[in-house]
Structure formats: C-alpha cells, structure tokens
C-alpha cells in the first residue's frame, strides 16, 4: 500500500451514539478488502477502504445467513455506489446506506467513519 508517511499514524474511528470509537490504524486496511471490528457492546462492524481512500463501515453480520462475515466479502462499485458482496450467498450491500441491493426489504446498520 502506498500512503504518505505522515498519514500512517492516522486512526480509524467509528461513530457510536455521540462518541467516536477508535478501531485501528488506517494502515491495517487493504484497499478493496474489509476487516471486522469488535464494538464495546459486543456488536461487530465491517470496515472497508476503497481504492480512492474512502472508508466505509456497516454491520458485520450477514442478515441472510446470520454469520458475522460481511467484512470478508468482495467489494466493488455499482452505478457509482460502493458495495460489498456477502461471501456466503453473494447478496450485495451498499456500503454507505447498508441497503441490500438484491432485496429491497433488507438493510444492515451503517456507521459514520473518519480518520483522526
């Protein structure tokens, strides 16, 4: 990964209620792949970095199978919007809204993310 040296110390933070929760260094993420984070209340978030450096976070649990695996899916762009495809049954989820692109009735939680 090629990141300018001064950015390597940047931390990724998730917004939980009013607080910003620090997850990990930005360098822990590989563009185009996700990682899972354990939140203080036991929930799990899936974090992704895209090729232009934007960060996204949604719930890690795949609502179709129940397994906590969305962070392990392949990402991509569909009509200009970023998505991840569940590694189990391949349903796609919009990374900004958490909405399932293959089943309008399903949405997973999404989180605000920033680097600090």
């Amino acid at each position: 990964m090629t990141l300018a040296p001064e950015t390597t110390a940047l931390k990724i933070q998730l917004q939980l209620e009013d607080d910003w929760f620090t997850v990990c260094d930005l360098t822990a993420l590989l563009p185009g792949r996700g990682v899972a984070a354990l939140l203080p209340d036991g929930r799990q978030a899936a974090l992704f970095l895209d090729r232009s450096g934007r960060l996204y976070a949604i719930d890690n649990r795949d609502p179709f199978s129940g397994a906590a695996v969305l962070s392990r899916g392949l990402t991509g762009t569909h009509q200009g919007r970023p998505f991840v495809a569940s590694p189990l049954l391949k349903q796609r989820f919009d990374l900004e809204s958490g909405r399932c692109l293959d089943d309008e009735t399903v949405t997973v939680a999404s989180y605000e993310v920033r680097t600090n």
């Binding site: 997850v23 990990c24 822990a28 590989l30 563009p31 185009g32 792949r33 990682v35 899972a36 984070a37 354990l38 036991g42 799990q44 974090l47 895209d50 090729r51 649990r61 609502p63 179709f64 199978s65 129940g66 397994a67 906590a68 695996v69 392990r72 899916g73 392949l74 990402t75 991509g76 762009t77 569909h78 200009g80 970023p82 495809a85 590694p87 189990l88 049954l89 391949k90 796609r92």
Partner: protein, 862 residues
C-alpha cells in the same frame, strides 16, 4: 361499509384465487365491491408450481405470491386459516369455520384439488404423506431427516417424479412405484417412457413400473416399514408419498346442490358460471365447458380473467379450453410434452428420433397439411419453447431437422426468430411473441428481468425463460442495440478476450486492466465481485509469463481473490473454515495420517473423508488457520486448494502394483499428474483420476481429464463431470506413452484456460465451443492453430514456478496479521462461531444463526 356495496366472496386463496383478485383490481372492481377471501391454508397464496424448489433453497416466504400491500391497498378482507364450511344459496351466505358469515352478491369458488390417496390398507399410518402444500413439504422434510433412510413414491406421473426427486435430494434411497407400464403415462408414449426410465434410473432412483401398491406395512410403533406390491414382493421403506393424481375439491358445491360432473369437478359454462348464476368456479376445482378438469395453472389463470371480466360485464370473455403442454422441472431430467402429444388427430404422422445410449427421445406429431400438432421430448428439451410456440403452424424447416441433435449435420437449430408474432411464448401467462417484442421496442426493456416484470412472461413454471432470453437478444439486435456479451458491468469483453489482452500485452495488475480496458464508467472505480476474481484467476494462471507474482495473496492480488482464496480455506455457513491438505493420488503414509488425526484432535475439528480421496477438517476459526497450517506444513503437507478454482484431486485406484487386473501403475501416474498441475488456477475447478484398467475403479470418465490404463499405455478422456449435470468424458486419444499423455494434458488444460468462460467447467466448455470435441482434438492433438508450442511453454512456466501458498503465508508476518477475527481484538475469537456436539464430533451451532436460505451445494460459488 355501506350495505349496498355489492360483495364478492372468494373461497380458496390458491394460485388461481390470487390471480382472480389481481384481475378484479385491474378492472377497478375492488373499488366498487367489498371483497372477502376465505383462505384455508395457514398462509396466503404461494407458488405451488415451484413448490419443489423449497428443497433447493427457496423459502416459504420466497414462494409467496401475495403482496400484503396489494391486499391492504385494495381493501381486500383476507381471512387466513379460516375455510368456508357451508354455503346457503337461498340466503346467499357463506359460513366459515370461525363462525364468520358473509352475505354475497357473487361467490367464486377456487378451492383447487386434493391429492388422491388410493384406498390401500395402512394408508394413514405414520410416515405416509401427500405432496401438495408447503405444510406437506415441511412434514416430509422433518420426517425424512429424523426417521427415514428410504422413501417410496406411489405414482410415477409428473408430480410423482418431482416428489421422488425431492426425496432423493433429502438423501433418501428412493423408489417410484407406478401402476402403468411406463413413467409419466399421460404425457409420454412408450418410446419416451423408455428414454425417461433410463435417465431416472441413471439418477439413482429405483423404478417399479407396471406395479400396484397393495398394502402399507407398519411396524409395532405404527410407523411405515414397507409396502406390499402387486407382483407379490415387499419393498422396505420408511416413508411413503402418495402422488397418484388429484381430484377436484367440489364438496362445498355438492353440499349446496350445485351441478358437479360425474367424475368430479364443479360444472361451469364458458363464463365459468356454475348452475347458480351468482356462483362461479375457477381453477382446478372447475369442470370446464369442454368437459375437462384442468390440472395446470395456465388454464386456471384464464378462468380467473374470464370471471373477473364477466363480473365487470364490460368485456366479452369466454374460457373454451386450453393447451396441456408441460415440462418437468425436476433437476437433471428434461421431459416435455406439448399439443397433441399422443397423435390423437386423425391421419397425423410422426417424426421420431431416438438414441437410447444417451437417453434421448423426440417425437413430433405432424398433420396432413404439414402443421406441427404436438410432440414429446425426453432427454433434451431445449427446443421445447420454440416448438410449443410453433404448434398449429407449418414449421419453416423440415420436421426431421427439428428433432436431430445439434451438430449432426442438420442446419442450425430453429431459433425463436422463426416464430410468428401471435405465437404463445409463455403459456403460463399467455404472453405472445408480439407482446415480448413490444416490451423491448415500446417499453424499452433491455434485460430478461425487465421483460419478465413488464409482461409476466417467464414468472410461472419458468420453462419459457430460455426462449425469452433469445427473443430479447434478437429484438435488441434487430433494433441496432448491441447485445452485451461482456463479462460484467465493468468489462465489455468476454473472459477469453480479457485473457488474450492480459497475455498479449503482459498486463499484470487488475487496476491497469480496468483503467485501460474497462467500460467507460467503470475505469478508475473499484470493479465488482464478478470481474475481480475472474481477472485474479487469469493473472494467476499466467503469472510467470506476464511477470506477476505467483502468490495469490501478493499485493493487489489479495484484494481480487474470492473470500475462500483470500483465507486459503473454505468458508462454512457459520463463518468458520475447513482445511483440506493435499494427499496426492489418495496415497498417504501412516505417519501423515497420524499427524492429521493429532491436529484435528488438538483443535477440536470435525473430521471427514471427502469424496475426493482426502480428509477435510471443519470448524477452524480464522485465527486458528495459521496455527493449524504451521503444524501441517511442518509434517510435509501442502495446500490442497479445496478453496480455489484450480486443480482439486487426481483420484487413483490402487492399480497394477496390488490389483490382479491392473495393467499400469495408476497410483504413480496420479501422483505425477497431481504434482504437475497443483496450484494451476483455471476458470473453474479441475478434477482428474487415473484407473489401472478398464474396470475404472477411479471413475476417470467423470473427470475434467481422466486417464485409463491400457496394456499399451494410457487412454485420455476429457470433459467429464459429476455434480449437478453429469457428463461422461469423451475419449481424446488412445494408447499414449507417459510423455505423450502429459503433453496432451498440458495442451488441453491451457487451451481450456485460454478459451473458457468464467465458472465454466470443461464439460460445458466442450459443449459450447464451435466444433466441439473434433475442434479440440484438432487443436491439441493435430495443432491445427499452431499454438501448441505456446500452450506447452505456458504450462512449463507454471510447473517451474509452483510454490506452496500455505508455506509462503505462514512465513510472512504481514500476511499472517490478516488471519484474525477482529482487527482491534486479534486475540478474541468471533463469538458468533459456536459449535454443539454431534456423533462424538462437533457441528455448527445453528440456533445462533438465522439461516434464511439453503442453497444447493456450491450454488453460491456459481
């Protein structure tokens, strides 16, 4: 609700009932009428036609045909689980089981049918079922899983075969008992029955035709243990499904004195009115004016439309009869019959093509004037959609050419372009070719899903979808719209074209390929889940030649891999992984076996011998993978690539060394081949086997490349397949020396990798490419394209550069840091991954998960 609003009461909320409600709404009748529906089943209308798809993963929710918004928006009063029990025609009231009494102006009966159970002793015993509702399927599934290993279906008709397929799918040894001398006696003739029998038996089902069921035998606990057959034999079985036909549910109508037919069915006229002008009957419970009870959904839909139109009184509508075409939906069997299948028309002639080797039988019935009247297709029903639509007209090419198999010298298959605009393409929804063309030209639909939504075509039994796809493409092409054969939304090239670009221009990163050769809008973007692994695989296959690293987790390549390849293990339903070390040729030393045993024991893994002569260990959490592999690598194991689209196993029999029949050393050859092609990434997985003699204990003829020993050397077979659509491999070359064999396999595999589509096994590839086997033989044996040297050198580069990816991974700390459940808590295991004991081992703790869908094995990877 004011009392002068006229009331329509619908009894029965099945497929036809729901269609009737939609037809009322379309005509605005739900606004002017109060509509009350009495529904007996515990759920609103669902797709009974697709019932069996429950067993391939469709959930009851997905089968539903009822949009509750629709019901609400149209103010329909739907009473679920409350059947009508009594009709008082004098007072015009219907009383339901709950006591609810509704006064009607118009009553519509859509009560469907019930399965006929022959009156044999023991028919009500525990373990006896029928096959009609979702509840029936749930009960069969539960019983089969808890108590049964063998099942029998009484009745070998259309539904009986579907039920038998379902039992087989549940893992039961399955029997079909049919009284008539052949299967599907209504639809197929003797020749078709013979071909069908062969196919069904090849699927592993036991068929007993010309045999009646005399008694269901039960054990001490009252549950089924077997059945007595008319030939005096007894068949042991734990479960019986009766599928011996259906009977119209006309009891309500009988009880209130409506006319019913001698053999059942509520008599109606052309407007579907019963003998009482205020009462209509539609669907399977009705005896139509042509004297028939229709057991198919399409005629029922037509009756629903007719009745709604008649109530609206603004259209002239009549139901005078319908077509009885059918296509069996059972996985793996192609059977279709349409029109006058049995040649009942006076003076008609047959054209028959039969090949009992391949289980193919095709018959067309042709009238004196040359018009196609009907036909039967068994084993290959590809032409069904087109032929059905041509029925009634004189086909534009000679009938014998319509039944000859593709590639046998006849002219190109007749496409749907030859059909007239009035031809019915979708008989479930009565949609003509003209309507479909209109959807493309006037409504700007450009894809099959859009056309389905717009016209409803293809949303019933699904048998017309193939023709629909061809029509949509034809129409788009005719309108000058270029039909997109591109890999995905990011690339307009096919996989083969991308391979050529990567090879010729030595492009070794995905981003470079996307930014230079991607579609306009996709360049600079993040690609998608289809092209990333496909391009990742091309780069991996060609790595040494194009100057990419051969290690699939290197740099950008890591982000392209499917999740299994990314963790070098197979993801399981609860988020844990399985581990399959390579065991070349299935040969393993006791020491190595002990290591596997120890590792599995120490990590508490579920251990199973696979179908591919090796051992799979399940239930490892992601952070355990490196620890487990460190021990395996240390003991001399390497990755078995069970996760990759790459070489899986080369099975072998024990061969000449021990076996008294063996003529060559099959184990040595299998190990040589497995070590040569291990790690080779390809469009789909590759399997192989080597048998030591023609007895074929290694099943080489079901493999992508299979080798059978002869006294002079080796015979090479290619493009075999097990799995969902089995195919026997074709003999490519005979009596080869070791070196000749390996040279041909090198060329064959590289030619396949170069020209196949994404996720296309060698079997489908061989069937698809122009010229088929002859062409492949010309290219790889006779070098007709002059590319063999290149193919061989590409393979040589792969062999020279192979490295074990697990050994490489455990020695790279940066890569290892990815093998954690949580980036911010590397030592915490994922709490969702849980296990419970089963048969002295573990299994995933499923109550922790809410499994909504159950796909067919591997359907996720397709």
């Amino acid at each position: 609700m004011s009392t002068d609003t006229p009331t329509i009461v619908l009894v029965g909320h099945g497929m036809v009932g729901q269609r009737f409600l939609e037809a009322l709404a379309e005509r605005g009748l739900t606004a002017t009428h109060r509509v009350v529906v009495l529904c007996e089943e515990p759920r609103p209308a669902y797709d009974r036609v697709q019932l069996t798809s429950y067993f391939s993963g469709r959930t009851p929710e997905e089968l539903s045909m009822t949009d509750m918004e629709f019901i609400k928006d149209h103010g329909i009063e739907l009473h679920i689980g409350d059947p009508a029990e009594h009709i008082d025609r004098e007072a015009r009231t219907v009383t339901a089981r709950s006591g609810l009494t509704v006064t009607y102006d118009t009553l519509v009966l859509a009560t469907g049918s019930y399965p006929f159970v022959p009156p044999v002793p023991g028919k009500d015993a525990e373990g006896c079922f029928v096959y009609r509702t979702i509840e029936d399927l749930l009960a069969i599934e539960e019983y089969a899983k808890a108590k049964a290993t063998t099942g029998a279906v009484v009745g070998g008709g259309l539904l009986g075969l579907e039920a038998a397929g379902a039992l087989k799918g549940l893992g039961l040894t399955t029997h079909i008992v049919e009284f008539a001398p052949r299967l599907m006696p209504v639809q197929v003739d003797e020749g078709g029955g013979a071909a069908l029998l062969r196919t069904i038996e090849d699927m592993g089902l036991s068929v007993h035709t010309g045999t009646g069921t005399q008694e269901i035998v039960t054990g001490d606990d009252g549950a089924v243990t077997g059945m007595k057959l008319s030939d005096g034999s007894e068949l042991a079985t734990d479960l019986v499904v009766f599928s011996a036909g259906v009977r119209p549910r006309d009891a309500l109508a009988r009880d209130c004195g409506l006319n019913v037919g001698e053999r059942g069915g509520i008599s109606v006229d052309e407007q579907c009115r019963t003998s009482d002008p205020h009462v209509f009957a539609i669907g399977e419970c009705a005896l139509a004016s042509d004297g028939r009870v229709y057991g198919l959904v399409a005629p029922g839909y037509e009756m629903a439309e007719t009745t709604a139109a008649t109530i609206a009184a603004d259209e002239e509508a009549a139901f005078t009869g319908a077509d009885l075409s059918t296509k069996l939906k059972l996985l793996g069997v192609d059977v279709a019959s349409f029109g006058d299948a049995h040649g009942a028309t006076e003076d008609c002639l047959d054209v028959v093509y039969a090949d009992s080797r391949s289980g193919t039988y095709k018959k067309l019935v042709i009238g004196r004037d040359g018009a196609l009247l009907g036909g039967i297709l068994v084993g290959d029903a590809d032409a069904y959609g087109t032929l059905r639509a041509l029925t009634g007209s004189v086909p534009p090419i000679a009938p014998e050419q319509l039944v000859l198999p593709a590639g046998s010298g006849g002219p190109a298959q007749l496409g749907p372009s030859a059909l007239p605009d009035e031809a019915i393409i979708c008989s479930c929804h009565n949609v003509t070719k003209g309507t479909i063309r209109g959807a493309v030209t006037d409504h700007q639909c450009t894809t099959v899903p859009e056309v389905k939504k717009c016209t409803k075509a293809g949303t019933g039994c699904g048998s017309c979808v193939k023709v629909l796809g061809q029509l949509v493409n034809d129409e788009l092409e005719a309108n000058g719209v270029e039909v997109d054969h591109g890999l995905c939304g990011c690339f307009s090239q096919t996989r083969q074209e991308l391979y050529e670009i990567v090879l010729a221009l030595r492009i070794n990163t995905y981003q470079q390929l996307l930014d230079r050769y991607g579609r306009e809008g996709a360049r600079g973007g993040d690609g998608c889940e289809i092209c990333k692994p496909a391009v990742g695989s091309i780069i991996a296959s060609l790595a040494p030649t194009i100057g990419a690293d051969g290690y699939v987790l290197d740099g950008e390549q890591a982000s392209l891999q499917d999740t299994n390849d990314h963790f070098l293990a197979n993801l399981q339903k609860n988020g844990s992984y399985s581990i399959v070390p390579r065991i070349p040729g299935g040969e393993i030393t006791p020491e190595k076996l002990i290591v596997i045993g120890e590792v599995a024991r120490d990590f508490g893994l579920y251990t199973k011998i696979t179908g591919g002569q090796r051992i799979d260990m399940f239930g490892a959490r992601v952070e355990q993978l490196p620890l487990i592999w460190a021990r395996l690598v240390d003991a001399g194991f390497e990755s078995g690539h069970a996760y990759g689209k790459s070489l899986r196993t080369v099975k072998s029999c024990v061969g000449q060394t021990w076996c008294r029949y063996g003529v060559q050393d099959s184990v040595r050859m299998a190990i040589d081949l497995e070590l040569r092609y291990r790690g080779l990434r390809s469009p789909h997985k590759l399997k192989s086997a080597v048998s030591g003699c023609a007895r074929e204990c290694a099943e080489a003829q079901s493999k992508d490349f299979g080798v059978i020993a002869t006294s002079n050397g080796w015979n090479l077979y290619v493009a075999g397949n097990g799995g969902a659509t089995p195919r026997h491999a074709d003999l490519l070359a005979q009596d080869l020396s070791d070196a000749e064999l390996i040279r041909l396999i090198d060329r064959f595999l590289m030619f396949y990798i170069r020209t196949a589509d994404r996720l296309e096994r060698t079997s489908t590839w061989l069937e698809r490419i122009d010229g088929g086997l002859d062409h492949v033989r010309d290219v790889v044996v006779h070098d007709s394209l002059g590319i063999c040297e290149e193919l061989e050198s590409l393979m040589a580069a792969h062999v020279a550069n192979y490295r074990d990816e697990w050994a490489e991974t455990i020695s790279d700390p940066e890569k290892l840091s990815r093998f954690v459940s949580f980036v911010n808590a590397p030592d915490t295991p994922d709490p969702v991954v849980g296990f419970v004991p089963e048969r002295d081992q573990i299994k995933p703790d499923l109550p922790l998960l809410t499994i909504g869908t159950r796909p067919l094995e591997g359907s996720a990877t397709r």
